[in-house]
């Protein structure tokens, strides 16, 4: 059973989810939904608790940050869905890595998920909270030009089996292709997660489709971003589409050795 999906909560009942560092409570009271969240800030927390049907008393006071939403009498179902971050995530290899001329390398990393809570018919989004709030970071050639991103704390690994798997994170394979005639130094990489889809593997963990960054020039840090909307591993099922669709191959500023 996954932590996401639709959960029946009649009036007077509630449920509690534990998804990594995030605790989420939902209560169905007369005329309203009450959603409360709390985060312990431990990004290594791999806890996973999914409520049994009608697990908790819907009249209990909720800890954490509370949000209230009106509910039609016939709404007794709440839906939790995993979504990727709303901004690009910047990851880095363990130490600066050099890609040989005309060579390529694939890094494996993971990014934290957000939980989208919806209710009603048709489904309306109530709130969206991160399972773990990454730090903000700036990615760009200078402090006047660039974009606001999240700082991924998981280093990019060269072997997929080295990547720890957690229920509140999604794995991504990033391939960097160096089309130039000289070494390419990589200190940080930008993963445009807002353009990626989510897939669930047979083992229950989530992953995105692979990302390819290709450069044919020695100058600058502009790379061609290639995305195929197909997962890397076989036997997976699509869970969510991208927040923002990327229609065609896009040139992005995705690699950096700035601010040195």
């Amino acid at each position: 059973m996954h932590w996401w999906g639709s959960f029946e909560l009649p009036t007077g009942y509630g449920g509690c989810w534990r998804i990594g560092p995030l605790e989420l409570w939902a209560q169905r009271r007369a005329e309203e939904w009450r959603i409360s969240t709390r985060n312990n800030g431990d990004r290594f927390d791999a806890s996973l608790d999914i409520p049994s049907p009608n697990q908790t008393d819907g009249s209990a006071e909720l800890p954490g940050t509370l949000a209230r939403f009106s509910a039609a009498p016939e709404d007794t179902e709440i839906e939790l869905a995993p979504v990727l971050a709303d901004r690009p995530v910047v990851i880095r290899p363990e130490s600066p890595f050099h890609v040989a001329a005309h060579g390529e390398v694939t890094f494996f990393t993971s990014t934290p998920l957000w939980v989208r809570v919806s209710a009603g018919e048709p489904r309306q989004r109530l709130i969206e909270v991160p399972t773990w709030r990454p730090s903000d970071t700036w990615f760009g050639p200078s402090t006047t030009e660039g974009s606001l991103c999240y700082a991924g704390r998981t280093v990019g690994r060269l072997q997929p089996e080295e990547l720890p798997l957690r229920a509140h994170r999604a794995a991504t394979a990033v391939t960097v292709h160096n089309g130039a005639d000289s070494l390419l130094a990589i200190e940080r990489m930008l993963i445009p997660v807002e353009h990626l889809s989510l897939f669930v593997r047979p083992d229950g963990f989530l992953e995105t489709q692979p990302v390819t960054l290709s450069s044919s020039s020695t100058a600058g840090a502009a790379f061609a971003l290639s995305l195929v909307d197909e997962p890397r591993t076989a036997g997976v099922e699509r869970v969510a589409g991208p927040r923002e669709k990327l229609e065609q191959q896009s040139v992005v500023r995705a690699l950096a050795s700035f601010f040195s």
Binding site: S135, D136, W138, L148, A151
Partner: protein, 273 residues
């Protein structure tokens, strides 16, 4: 059909033709003024500075139409032009400051160093730009006061746009006791920055040893935040740094003086010189 012949006869007279021409010129002028005014109003959403040009453009079109109509009627406009010239000189002397403000406003518009909505600092005044008008600009200070600054002053003064770039650096000045382990102190500060998600990871926080003060080792702790979260991060980081220093027993000393007491070899206090 007599009336038709009378009408045709009347239309053939020059007077009627001239009257029609004048009416056409004035109508065209009014129509042009309306069209251009509407076009500028539509462009104002993108280029807010055009608000100051709209009345000027409207007046210019109407005046030109009026003078052209007078010329058709047969009025000697050279007299008018001459009178206008004298009037202009008189007005020019009387309105030097206004003209300077107007021209300064045009230059400011062209430079685009700030737009409506930006937060700027002009001399000692900090506020949000509410409007950039023909002769002046208006700021709303953070304690909700309206400040009007002539455009000429704006052009001459040093203006700091606090919201031009998307990220800003915050500098915190700190002093710690001389007996402090500097390495541990630096680690504490970096941990505080690392723990605050609104404190940007890149550009990296920076710690500069400013010098050796009278009472403390002086440091500058610099870190970055987005312009939207600048105030929140600044407040939070000051509080969090204080808490972290207290937790780790790192002292921020009060101003100190060291008093040396001397006695001579007999144990007596030194005599007056």
């Amino acid at each position: 059909m007599q009336w038709l012949s009378d009408l045709i006869g009347w239309l053939s007279i020059d007077t009627a033709r001239i009257a029609l021409k004048v009416a056409a010129i004035l109508a065209t002028g009014l129509l042009a003024q309306r069209l251009i005014s509407r076009r500028i109003a539509a462009l104002q959403k993108r280029f807010v500075h055009l608000a100051t040009l709209r009345p000027v453009a409207s007046a210019l079109i109407l005046v030109v139409s009026f003078i052209w109509a007078l010329a058709e009627v047969g009025v000697d406009i050279t007299v008018l032009v001459g009178a206008a010239g004298i009037l202009t000189v008189a007005l020019g002397f009387a309105s030097q400051t206004s003209a300077s403000n107007l021209i300064s406003g045009i230059f400011l518009m062209g430079e685009q160093a700030f737009v409506v909505g930006d937060v700027v600092k002009v001399e000692d005044t900090i506020g949000e730009v509410l409007s950039i008008d023909l002769l002046s600009m208006r700021l709303r200070t953070f304690d909700n006061l309206l400040v009007r600054i002539p455009n000429e002053t704006m052009l001459k003064a040093k203006v700091t746009n606090l919201t031009y770039f998307p990220i800003r650096r915050i500098d915190m000045q700190l002093g710690v006791a001389y007996h402090t382990d500097v390495g541990a102190f630096v680690e504490v500060l970096l941990a505080v920055a690392d723990a605050n998600p609104l404190c940007l990871e890149e550009p990296k926080p920076l710690i500069i040893h400013s010098g050796f003060g009278d009472s403390a080792l002086l440091f500058q702790f610099s870190f970055w935040a987005t312009r939207e979260s600048y105030l929140d991060v600044r407040n939070a980081m000051h509080n969090e740094v204080k808490q972290a220093l207290d937790t780790h027993g790192i002292e921020i000393p009060f101003p100190q003086r060291t008093l040396w007491l001397h006695r001579d070899e007999n144990g007596s206090p030194p005599t007056q010189p």
